[in-house]
Chain length 154, copies 4
């Protein structure tokens, strides 16, 4: 059962700020890219939205440590690992790597978020947490300790 | 009946790019700020969203000419003027001014967008244009030619 | 000599808004992705930045017409065509297509921007336009009328 | 000597996502708004940028816990408190409150970031940390424990 995924993308000009580096808020958007790709690789729908009934994954917490700057044009790899599967939530770890011209890669950030399975109550517009549905329980699993520690492969 | 509005805001660090200037896509977001404030000043709801029934204003077109750069920390004024009220759409003109330390202001951009009154069809998820509702017809009007041409007052 | 380019990317969750569609300001960011890829395909540097000397391409104007909504998870193609090469500026046309599950594609937007070759004056922080350098003149050319009109190939 | 600051702003339409809520990455941008306002209130420059010499505050880490959703049109207050002043870094705590129509407010998030005083090395483009300059040491101080715990005043 899948517990990790690596996505790759380029840094866009609009993601930089006047310091010449990627704005730190965008690292959290990069994490989301890997989350979507992970769900797709698992054959699961991340968002299940029909008019009048929206099920989604609001974030309960997020954190990131930044260890190397990212710049316009860099190619990055975002490694997702499932840290924990709770009754109503999933906890992810992400590591972001910059691919260097010489073929090596540099870890640029390590972080994570916890995301709660939730529906929008049609009566009052409030969020209500739900137990993870069976297809998600059956589709993903926590990463073994090694997968959280070892550098993801290129 | 109202036909113009001026909003004021600061430029955020996250809105700059590595050229040290505000990224041009953000000018369109500034226009939206003035649109929201204009609707509020008119006592109208910009978004009318109940579960299963969403009415909104997708944009049909947008344009902008950039005449002076904006930088982190600048205070800007965004002047909205209603250019035309159509059966199912509203056309806006926006001018964005940078407030200078000496009390003058510099026009940084002029642009606009046309926005269509629309509902999301609950059956198929498609957008369907609607006639403007009476409260909007009664609440706003096109700006007289002068208001489109004259520099907005500080 | 190159005069067009097609880039492909996915729509991110963070690019949607509460209407469930891609926020219109992001279409301009998609155009930039194709501009960067076009320069790379031509072997040219889009940004030439050394400390104390920054050369870039601020936008003089931008516009877009939106003809079909884009949603989270869509795969889009962004077709760039060089509309005009001026002394100090380049004018681009962009068309954005959504790839449909059945293999067809739908035009979602058509727009463009004009971008001026500029350096940042180290003495006063002002932008100064410059003649296009020879490597850019030699590296790109305006698209023939057909390339601006015909649907870009998948 | 100042150790806290409260900023106020509105939620923009472009800051929401298809779940109808503010995208979580934007909470980090709201924190930055309070940081800029805090520096201004202290009479300090957040960014000191001359051509060839850029001094700034890249983030070393950031985190946030989300406790209540924010929606388009909400007015929020962002309370900054200085958690620690290190040799080369400042650690901030932020709490974000939503102002309710009835005059109360709801804590929507609590988080923070640590930011390092840094210059861009003109020779190799690398970031180098620097000791905090005297005017910053003299201008701000860590918040007393109470200020980190007590609800900020409206």
């Amino acid at each position: 059962m899948p517990f990790e995924h690596t996505s790759e993308r380029r840094i866009e000009f609009s993601e930089t700020d006047m310091a010449g580096l990627v704005h730190f808020s965008n690292y959290f958007r990069y994490m989301e890219t890997a989350e979507r790709d992970f769900f797709e690789a698992c054959g699961l729908d991340l968002i299940n939205s029909k008019p009048g009934f929206v099920v989604g994954w609001p974030r309960m917490r997020a954190d990131c440590r930044f260890s190397a700057p990212l710049r316009f044009g860099d190619t990055i790899q975002i490694h997702l690992a499932v840290k924990a599967v709770k009754d109503r939530a999933i906890e992810y770890q992400f590591r972001i790597f910059r691919k260097n011209p010489d073929g090596t890669r540099t870890q640029a950030a390590k972080g994570g978020f916890t995301t709660m399975f939730t529906m929008l109550d049609p009566d009052n517009g409030m969020l209500r947490s739900l137990d993870l549905p069976p297809e998600i329980r059956a589709g993903i699993q926590p990463a073994p300790p090694d997968a959280l520690k070892r550098p993801a492969d290129l």
